[in-house]
Amino acid sequence: MKMSSEFIFSKKGKRKLTPFLGKELLYDYISNRLDDERKRAVDSLLKDSKEIQDEVLMLKRAMSYTEELAQTGISEKIIDEIKVPKTYIQGFFQKIRWSEWPSGLKLGIEVLTVASCILLVIILIPWNKVIKFPIVQTSQLVLSEVKKDISKSSSNEIVIAEKNATPEELVFQDETEKTAESVNNQKTVQAQAPVKTDSKSVNEASKNNTKPQPESIKTQGFLYRGSIRVSNLDVTSEKFVKKIEEFGGRKAGEVPLGWKKGESTYFHFTIPEAKYESLKSFLIEYGKIQLNKEKHDRVMPDGIIRIIINVYEDKDK
């Protein structure tokens, strides 16, 4: 095809590039991507059209503006942040723009979080077990005290006395009375049966004491409760007090044995279990009595029972 100085866009010739088409070619024209033929056509359009000239100027301005934007720099801090992969928590804090929050609000939230954590820990700790823990230790200490007494005792009789002693003789020992009671036991045993012992028996006894006895641990306590009607309340009550004391009974609770409670007397005491039947047969001599065994929170030591008896005046007799 023969090229002329005037650009021919049709077979008939002399048809110029329209402004509409020319506008679409302007970006390529500015970028120098058009071939010579089209470049000349856009050039000729530019000469004639003020609108196209303005458009070229605008495009050039826009391009220089993007060149300015391209000069934007980035700090090393941002580069480092992009390089290091973020954890979920870091991402979360960045997302909520934590660093831009008011310091008062941040402090409040931090305090609230710490308080919640402390509260959670307090709730989750099993305080019952924690509180009970030292009590267990105390009971272990009591066991070691007994062991200590045995090791300290120089005479064989003391060991034997403790071994042979019936529950009645041992059960009522308060911490303060222990020493006196043990001395009494010694005397009793020495008087009744002076047994010859050798070092082997002492060792055996000590072994028996040190070995943990497989006792069933009591978890439920019991209480015997009953009432009796007697004639001549005051005199009978005094007799009851004496007899209970004879059987090794001791007052329990705050009031003394035979405490006057209106028109009745009140007996709240502990007694060796072995004496229970004897006491019952004694009381039957004075009137009809029925003792009921009731469940109670307080657990008594082995061989000891707790009894509450109300004694009334029998007005029928």
Binding site: M58, L69, A70, K77, I78, I82, Q94
Partner: protein, 157 residues
Amino acid sequence: MTRMSDSDLRAIALFFFFSTLDDNFALNCASEAHSICVKKLQKNPHLNPRITLVAACLECWNKYKNKITRGKPQYSNDSGWMLPKNLNLSSWNEFQKKATEEELLALITSKILNISDEEISIGMGVSIGTLRFRVARGLKKLAACLNHGLSPVSLVR
């Protein structure tokens, strides 16, 4: 080559900064795009880093574009983005709000990041002609935004 150069990192960061105009969001997206890019390059070391960069940026953009609020810029000058002095970003804000997604991304990659049209077209999966058309349309819109910003001055004349 699995390690990206600082200029590539800068390109990723600027891509998201100018497309979102939200410094924190841009940082998060750039971080994710960077890790995508690194993974792709580790998988295939023969990939062109620039093409991979464009593809990773586009992938990340498509993932988060619904969360971007256009026309509400959220950036501060002291947050590490060092804009040239005396540069007025209001025209770009206007353009970012009005331009279509294709125009915006084409203009950023081609004219701000200065990546070649061939690399962009492969990375975006479009023809070079389509890309140039988008850039031209984008430039026209940006020019209109710039002109709009100067209209009071022309009235004075």
